[in-house]
């Protein structure tokens, strides 16, 4: 027996001075202390080989485990290791694949992050010359669409009213017998050259087949007008980066219009203040009736009713034609105010010939032709409006849909294949379409989810998600992009193109991945002639690795040649009465993204509401001390909207910048079949839309809005107060006064005693600093003075902090340029995806329980009727003198040596003092068991409470308990339990990864190693993150700008996040 215990017992080996023994003697516990699992695995009695501590450990574990197993019904979750490890997968190490995001006409070059074979995050692909590494909220959210429980999970056939499962083989067999030459394929824009080739093959087999292309939100007028004007049926390459004066008629090019990521990137090139002494900025004028995302970024907005858009364009056209000696046409009546403003626009445009840009989002051919001519007269064609690299991101023409409706009702169509489109929801003529469709014998959905269209089909041939598929895209001429699968199909789905190929009979079933081969062969035929095919492999591998391929097309010159007079007669005619605009919301589009809970919960950037369509109503000022809203409605009141012979019940939200006499409502809501998430959220207005010459018009005149009929009890509004000082005229003195400050008190005091808020109570807050470009110098001086004062105040304190310690090593910081931020919200979704931020549902958002770590505060300022906007992305400021830290009784939130404000979830007991004490209100408490992470198994809130849909759908109504949903979770980030506080961590997991990478490569860490999710997602590079101790980096360069300020600096919390003064190029001579 050997025992070494304080030298009391000496074993034989010790006596013999056994070398090994002596070496080990000093290191008593050389071996790892065995874990309970290891002990359990040993054959011999665990107690025999275990010391006392391990015995207690095993005992404790055993008792604890038994209690848990017996007492709480926690579902057993099995983790099964690889039997044979795939070569490319290292557990814990992410793998990235270049791919493309394509949803109809939406395009983005992406890089997909996968962990253990699961795609969990989408980043922008910096190699792309279209999207430049930027993303949008929709792109960020696409990864969750992969794990959508409303997906079609296997092929089905309709028997009676119900769908029954069917094998692919039987489905294909049925198709071969049912499909006839009189087939129609209904699709949204297809940008893929290879998909088009598939269509070609299909048509070859079924010769009368027509491809019917339309877009959920139409841009058909642009295509048609361009064909008329320039002989090019395509969207031109709008070069916002070359434009000094941008005039947009209803085109939301930063939010939703055609290629917002690309346009945002280019737009901000001329919005950034580079030199404070000689500031330069483009001028952006938006002509619209409601506050769009783009309009909120504009310098001046000219308020024009939707029906007067035509008159406005005509006026602009005539004025420019007069000045440039062009043909003038008869004008239409237009409000004097708009006229006066537009005449100023004319001057600005004429002063920027060749470097101006007029865009128009109206679906009216005449207006688009006029806008083309305006651009032509201004010499912009070939400069800011170029047809060399035309965009293929919108190809739809809904006139084809009306034709299809006719053909179907005439019995000329035998089969319709819905190729990823959902016309039963998003086609304006859907009522007639539905009736006509009933006459078609075979209806097949090659769609992705059980949507409004799939339910009326006879066969469902579920398509794989693009993250499970091969594919390509050509968003712009010369710009090619590949889609590669990042996960094998989760369900029994097949990629849409392959289904068509099978039905065309052109698939060799012996090939392993037939569509992959097809794609490759197509690329080979596009880029390589027969004789140089040898180089293809290298080309292909590189293209696949890069995800994008660019070959510059030859320059295309165009000249204008359309009939102006007929165009002028086709424009929108002014109308009387209340008018409504329908707009595509930034988050859920026209319903294509309604099944995505991240996007449903993302507040509309402008009106800040979520989970529903809210009627935007104008708001004014009574000249004394009260805001006056349309019909005296309050936010959340429901009204009945009657238009075009239809009635819809919607909740209202008063929105600054909404023109008096107009209202606005988003499209995309109220889908009848959108799974657990999107069904019946809000009101569907697509059937209300009217058309002009077969083109859908996104406005209506002669609208009626009833008095208040009720209240939306779950009105989900994340921001109560919207203004940081809007001014309006006092009715007595006629002087400008700060309206919202005056209107601050509760109405009792205003009404009875006439109490007004004091002036400055909002504008004097050090939350936002702003300036007009012409007053920049003095405002910069003022800011400097203020910051000097704050610093002086902050020096008067006893606590000196640990600045000298933070000067060592890394000290993380962030800078957000509010002049670059367009408010698009990509960062907010990126943050949710990266950090496993739970979705809470409408009722909880209504209760201000939203969990977003990063939000974009939106404030209006300036003229009340037509205000300017500033967006302020707000997340944890990682204060070096953090007020949250010293109030936590258990040290659950504390400071790292690198200046991070850390949140230790395990330690948090949820007193919430930190959240109270946070001046930025960025701390989020897990009020309920949002992410199914506590020990009680049936206390999760249903996310759909308040959606009228609580009884619908899956067993629990709880999304995050769905194993499919949970596949999207980032394994590097803890899922938080109920009862703990959480908040932005500056993506601590990414910082750690970056540090480890630098360490492994034995080099200094650079800012490229540490990129936060929000920073990576931003299409305009508004967010810069880095090490404040690295004096030469971009972060410190930006921080040195005299425009930089710290929000609430005088509170001395020593925030690590800086903002820039918001500068706009507003001209005050424009009237509201």
């Amino acid at each position: 027996m050997e025992k070494n215990n304080n030298n009391l017992w000496i074993g034989k080996r010790d006596l013999k001075v056994d070398r090994e023994f002596v070496e080990n003697a000093a290191n008593e516990f050389k071996e790892e202390i065995p874990t309970a699992q290891e002990l359990a695995a040993k054959d011999d009695s665990p107690l025999g080989t275990t010391n006392r501590r391990d015995f207690l450990k095993v005992l404790g574990f055993g008792v604890g485990a038994a209690t848990l197993a017996a007492g709480c019904d926690i579902p057993v979750k099995k983790a099964i290791p690889y039997v044979v490890k795939p070569e490319q997968i290292v557990p814990g190490v992410p793998t990235y694949y270049a791919s493309s995001y394509v949803r109809g006409g939406d395009y983005c070059a992406i890089v997909v992050k996968t962990r253990e074979g699961r795609p969990i995050k989408i980043e922008g692909n910096k190699l792309s010359k279209v999207t430049f590494g930027g993303t949008s909220a929709r792109v960020q959210a696409e990864v969750l669409n992969l794990y959508n429980n409303n997906r079609l999970k296997s092929p089905k056939v309709k028997k009676g009213d119900k769908f029954e499962n069917i094998s692919w083989k039987d489905l294909d067999k049925a198709m071969m017998s049912k499909l006839t030459p009189n087939t129609r394929i209904v699709t949204n824009t297809v940008m893929s050259p290879t998909t088009k080739k598939v269509f070609g093959d299909f048509i070859a087999k079924y010769p009368n087949t027509k491809i019917v292309t339309y877009d959920p939100v139409s841009s058909a007028a642009i295509l048609i007008a361009n064909e008329k004007s320039f002989g090019q049926k395509a969207i031109p390459d709008y070069k916002f980066d070359k434009a000094d004066v941008i005039v947009s008629f209803n085109a939301d090019f930063l939010g939703t219009w055609i290629s917002p990521i690309e346009y945002s990137k280019k737009y901000v090139a001329k919005r950034k203040i580079k030199d404070v002494e000689n500031p330069e900025m483009s001028r952006h004028i938006q002509v619209e009736s409601f506050m769009s995302l783009t309009g909120s970024n504009a310098d001046n907005r000219i308020l024009v009713k939707p029906s007067e858009q035509g008159a406005a364009i005509l006026y602009l056209y005539n004025e420019i034609a007069k000045a440039s000696g062009g043909q003038t046409v008869s004008s239409l009546s237009l409000e004097d105010n708009a006229k006066a403003n537009l005449s100023k626009v004319v001057k600005e445009l004429l002063g920027a010939k060749g470097s101006s840009l007029v865009v128009c989002g109206n679906n009216n051919i005449g207006e688009q032709v006029l806008v083309n001519k305006i651009n032509d007269m201004l010499g912009n064609i070939g400069k800011t409006v170029d047809f060399t690299e035309v965009s293929y991101q919108r190809q739809g023409d809904e006139r084809e849909m009306y034709q299809l409706t006719k053909d179907m009702s005439n019995g000329r169509v035998d089969a319709v294949i819905f190729f990823g489109s959902n016309p039963m929801y998003d086609f304006a003529g859907k009522k007639k379409f539905e009736d006509a469709l009933a006459k078609v014998k075979t209806k097949i959905s090659v769609g992705y989810s059980l949507d409004d269209t799939a339910v009326v089909c006879d066969y469902l041939a579920p398509a794989s998600h693009s993250l499970e598929s091969w594919g390509d895209a050509m968003p712009k001429k010369g710009h090619y992009s590949l889609i590669q699968p990042t996960i094998s199909t989760i369900f029994d789905t097949r990629q849409a193109e392959l289904s068509l190929l099978k039905w065309s009979g052109g698939v060799d079933s012996t090939i392993d991945q037939p569509y992959y081969q097809y794609l490759k062969n197509n690329w080979k035929s596009i880029f390589f002639s027969e004789d140089e095919a040898g180089g293809f492999r290298a080309f292909w591998d590189k293209a696949l690795k890069d995800g994008v391929y660019y070959s510059a097309p030859t320059k295309t010159e165009v000249s204008f040649g359309a009939d102006i007079a007929s165009a002028a007669s086709a424009v929108t005619k002014p109308s009387e009465g209340l008018e409504i605009s329908f707009y595509e919301p930034v988050n859920i589009g026209n319903g294509q993204f309604a099944e995505n809970p991240w996007l449903q919960e993302m507040p509309n950037p402008v009106d800040r509401t979520a989970w529903g369509s809210h009627l935007q109503i104008p708001i004014g000022f009574d000249g004394d001390k009260d805001f006056v809203t349309f019909n005296n409605l309050e936010d959340g009141d429901t009204v009945e909207l009657s238009a075009n012979g239809m009635k819809k019940k919607v909740a209202v939200v008063s929105t600054f910048g909404q023109m008096q006499g107009t209202i606005a409502l988003p499209l995309g809501y109220g889908r009848t079949k959108a799974g657990l998430v999107g069904t019946k959220v809000g009101a569907d207005v697509n059937d209300m839309l009217a058309d002009k010459d077969g083109l859908t018009q996104y406005y209506l005149t002669g609208v009626k809005v009833s008095e208040k009929v009720g209240v939306d009890k779950n009105f989900a509004h994340v921001q109560y107060h919207h203004t940081i000082g809007v001014t309006a005229k006092d009715k007595e003195t006629g002087e400008l006064k700060n309206a919202d400050e005056a209107a601050f008190p509760d109405s009792f005091w205003k009404d009875v005693f006439g109490v007004e808020g004091f002036q400055g109570m909002l504008t004097d807050r050090s939350v936002i600093f702003r300036s007009n470009i012409n007053e920049l110098k003095e405002n910069v001086e003022k800011l400097e003075e203020k910051r000097h004062e704050y610093k002086h105040l902050n020096e008067q304190q006893i606590y000196n902090g640990y600045d000298e310690l933070y000067a060592l090593g890394h000290h993380w910081g962030m800078h957000i340029d509010t002049n670059l931020c367009t408010g698009c919200g990509a960062c907010t979704i990126a943050c949710m995806a990266e950090n496993n931020v739970p979705i809470v549902g409408k009722h909880e958002v209504h209760r201000h329980h939203e969990m977003s770590w990063l939000r974009i505060d939106r404030y209006f300022y300036g003229e009340l009727e037509n205000p300017s906007t500033v967006y302020q992305p707000m997340m944890c400021q990682h204060c070096d003198n953090a007020p949250c830290e010293n109030v936590c009784p258990v040290n659950a939130t504390n400071h790292s040596s690198e200046g991070l404000n850390q949140m230790v979830y395990n330690r948090c007991i949820g007193t919430r003092y930190c959240a109270n004490n946070c001046p930025y209100k960025v701390r989020r408490f897990n009020w309920l068991d949002y992410s199914t992470a506590d020990i009680f198994y049936d206390n999760e809130p249903t996310l759909f409470e308040g959606n009228e849909m609580a009884t619908l759908g899956n067993d629990s109504g709880q999304l995050e308990s769905d194993p499919l949903f949970r596949m999207v979770l980032n394994p590097d980030v803890t899922v938080r339990e109920r009862g703990v506080i959480e908040k932005c961590s500056f993506c601590a997991q990414r910082l750690q990864e970056g540090k480890l990478n630098a360490k492994k490569e034995q080099r200094r860490l650079t800012d490229e190693d540490v990129v936060t999710a929000c920073q990576a997602s931003c299409p305009t590079d508004a967010i810069v993150f880095g090490d404040m101790n690295d004096k030469d980096n971009e972060l410190n360069k930006r921080k040195e700008s005299p425009l930089t300020f710290i929000a609430l600096e005088e509170t001395n919390v020593r925030s690590s996040v800086c903002y820039t003064m918001k500068v706009n190029n507003r001209r005050e001579d424009y009237t509201a």
């Binding site: 400055g760 807050r765 939350v767 003092y913 004490n917």
Partner: protein, 461 residues
Amino acid sequence: MSAPVSSIREPLVLGHKTYHDITEDLVSPTEKAPPLSWILVFIPAVALLSLGTFAVYWTIYVGIGTWNLNRTINWGWDITNFVWWIGIGHAGTLISAILLLFRQKWRTGVNRAAEAMTIFAVMCAGLFPMIHMGRIWNAMFIFPYPNTRGSLWVNFNSALLWDVFAISTYFTVSLLFWYTGLVPDLATIRDRAKGVRKKIYSFFALGWTGSAKHWQRWEYLALILAGLATPLVLSVHTIVSFDFATGIVPGWHTTIFPPYFVAGAVFSGFAMVLTLMLIVRKVLGLQEYITIAHIESMNKVILATGSIVGVAYITELFISWYSGYVYEQAAFFNRAFGVYWWSYFGMMFANVVSPQFFWSRKLRRNVTFTFFLSILINIGMWFERFVIIATTLARDFLPSSWSYYSPTWIEISIYLGTFGLFFTMFLIFARVAPVVAVAEVKHILKTGGDQYVGEDAVKGH
């Protein structure tokens, strides 16, 4: 009959009681079957307690999300109720400790009930910091105990931690004080009891024999505990006020909070004592022990502390203007004229205006009016805490995050439940122990105004 004959010092006990009368009057309620009036109050009290118990269970099971707090207003009724109950408790300590040190003999009529009230109020108060935690099952993290996590210690900078110490100390000292005072009385009951009751009271009477040595030690202990408890009267609410004053929220971050909170606590505590005593006095027929003079004395304290609180409110307003700091100014403007204006004016009226009526001697001595006002003051003091907590949080630095808050039925039920707890405890207490300190009243019987010959003097003896 050695006490001086006095024409100004009113007697503390009326009715020319003998020592035996006192024993009979005060001890007999513990020996009889409960009267109907007691049962009629006890049933609703237990019902409320059950409601509160369910609400607490539901809170713990489902989460704090069953309350209407939100990302901006993270404390609402929970902490309001906490501070309110803690404040209520203060009168007990003040009466038993400070008035003992100042030899205020009138205190003997009310001190027992007030001390009991303190203990039950602190129990009610202590509930809220516990259940307002998101993860109550980890509540032990708040205690600095040696552990295997590093050792991981609590954050001694946090006012919430100071709270833990302050309140646990306060509860312990109050309990000891109360129990110490009870011992001779329990012995009295023991001596009169039979059977099981005798055994139980024997156990709790700790072998009290009434020997001179016992009395001497007992008096010393009372003095020592009074000495310990006196700073607590000041410190507990000072520390509770630190819960807010150490924050940076405009409206919280003020140095005036400690004295203002202490005054407010004494103010609300006396109001609560009055509310209770006026009921007890009536129900148990103790008008001769809890006299109009008692009521008047307490009303004077209310007038004084109410005025201190009023000065504090006005000082706050002045300072917020004088600070020149926009957030501070806006915070106070919001308190008065913002969405919660009614709570501010409710507070102002109940706490500052209403006690001014007590300048009138007539009103001070009017039982009905006092009862009405004591309830009004309790409401007002609840509003004060609500104003400080919810109103302030609702409008702080960033206008984007402003919010509104109203309680759910769960929150209301928990508050009602604490009343259930309080009254259940108090009613049980009134059944098992004398609500007026028998020994102490006997002690002052012959020294406090026994020879009063002035106005209203009762002839007899």
